[in-house]
Amino acid sequence: MASKTINIKVKVWRQKDSNTKGNFETYELSDISTDSSFLEMMDVMNENLVEEGKDPVAFDHDCREGICGMCSLFINGHAHGPDTLITTCQLHMRKFTDGQTITIEPWRVGSFPVIKDLMVDRTAYEQIMQSGGFVSINTGGVPDANAIPIPKEDSDEAMDAASCIGCGACVATCKNSSAMLFVAAKVSQLALLPQGKIEGAKRAKNMIAKMDELGFGNCSNTGACEMECPKGISLAHIARLNREFLVANVKG
């Protein structure tokens, strides 16, 4: 892999805090290695800003290996930027060309208000999880792990759903700001396992009610969420959520 450097312009959303109006600022960066990650490019930008005595651009990030779900940038019209199956921190500068202008925006979702610059508040997700994203058991007193055999296929599909990192890219991408893929990932994971099935109906109902209450939009099945999901979580999980929800309502 030949490493080279590029010069770019970065058009970034700046917003002091949740009560202030924001605007775009453009910064020029030179000699960015194409081997560096997108966030390393942001680090360079911020180092420049700090050296000029200016406030660096705030953005969420932590593990920088695509698993914590903290990073959340909308880059050139895509959640997590122009590559598939990655988070922002896994995006590399080799995806961009010399002289390009890169537009970086925060997740634009009513239920995820901007805290500062590119940082948004995703506690709405926490509330959804607290409304039912669990199996109601306490520590201790559980049966042996091999007491209940689970078909490998079910377990694997549950794992597909469970790989959700809660980053919010699905909501950010969805034209309706719907949180269905996020909710579906949790509901589907637990619905596929005998441990979670027991309270499956209640879970689906409660989590959907909470999601609606928090002002997320409705799912119109465009499928954009699945395509932008860094973990490739399938729409099939939304279908399962819909099934669970339907059954829950029929049962009353």
């Binding site: 775009f24 979702v109 009513g110 939009g217 409705n218 465009t222 395509m227 939304i238 279908a239 959520l241």
Partner: protein
């Protein structure tokens, strides 16, 4: 949306079958129209159909408003060319086009048939409305006929696009889908959309060209 949508999907098929008799012969169409107008099951279904339309339309406006509200600040740059189909993102607009046509359609046909003045014909000893003439005259009424036919064709292309997303989407919403069924239902949906759009579009073209 899904349940009313699926109901309307079934209705469209029935309606297309009835309309295709236009291409067979005037009598065939008039018989079918008469059947539609008198058959008790159809009569029962008629108000249900109206309700289905109303439900589908009203509900679509409500959720669309919710959806708009859920993103108060829009993106400066959005690129969804690859992540979703154009039709799926524009269901409300495609629906509105169809709704506009539906309004014209109700005034032109349903209203006339039910409450307006109709010529009558007698086929096999049964007196019935001459629906055939009513339809054909709309398509072939000089310049107005061209305008009407164009609206008609555009509307059915919009409906086709609407259906392109609708069928699988409706099944997905009622939970009848997974990775395998999604592929099948999408194919069925596309075939259905083409059949409906093409089927209805053929009719004005037939009368304009032949």
């Amino acid at each position: 949306m899904s349940v009313s949508g699926l109901f309307l999907i079934v209705f469209l098929a029935v309606h297309l079958v009835a309309n295709i008799f236009l291409l067979v012969s005037p009598d065939a169409f008039n018989i079918s129209a008469h059947f539609m107008g008198t058959n008790p099951i159809i009569q029962i279904m008629q108000p249900l159909l109206g309700a289905g339309f109303l439900l589908h339309i009203i509900y679509s406006f409500i959720i669309q408003l919710q959806n708009w509200k859920s993103r108060p600040v829009k993106y400066n740059k959005v690129d969804q060319k690859e992540s979703s189909t154009w039709a799926s993102r524009n269901m409300i607009w495609l629906g509105l086009v169809v709704f506009g046509f539906l309004t014209i359609h109700v005034i032109n046909f349903f209203w006339v048939v039910k409450f307006g003045h109709m010529e009558h014909v007698i086929i096999d000893g049964v007196k019935m409305e001459d629906s055939y003439t009513l339809v054909v005259s709309l398509f072939t009424d000089g310049v107005l006929g061209y305008v009407y036919s164009s609206i008609y064709i555009i509307s059915f292309i919009a409906l086709g696009l609407h259906l392109h997303h609708a069928l699988w989407s409706a099944f997905q919403t009622i939970g009848f889908s997974n990775d395998a069924w999604r592929k099948r239902l999408t194919v069925v949906g596309d075939i259905y959309a083409i059949v409906i759009a093409a089927g209805f579009t053929i009719i004005p073209l037939y009368f304009l060209l032949f």
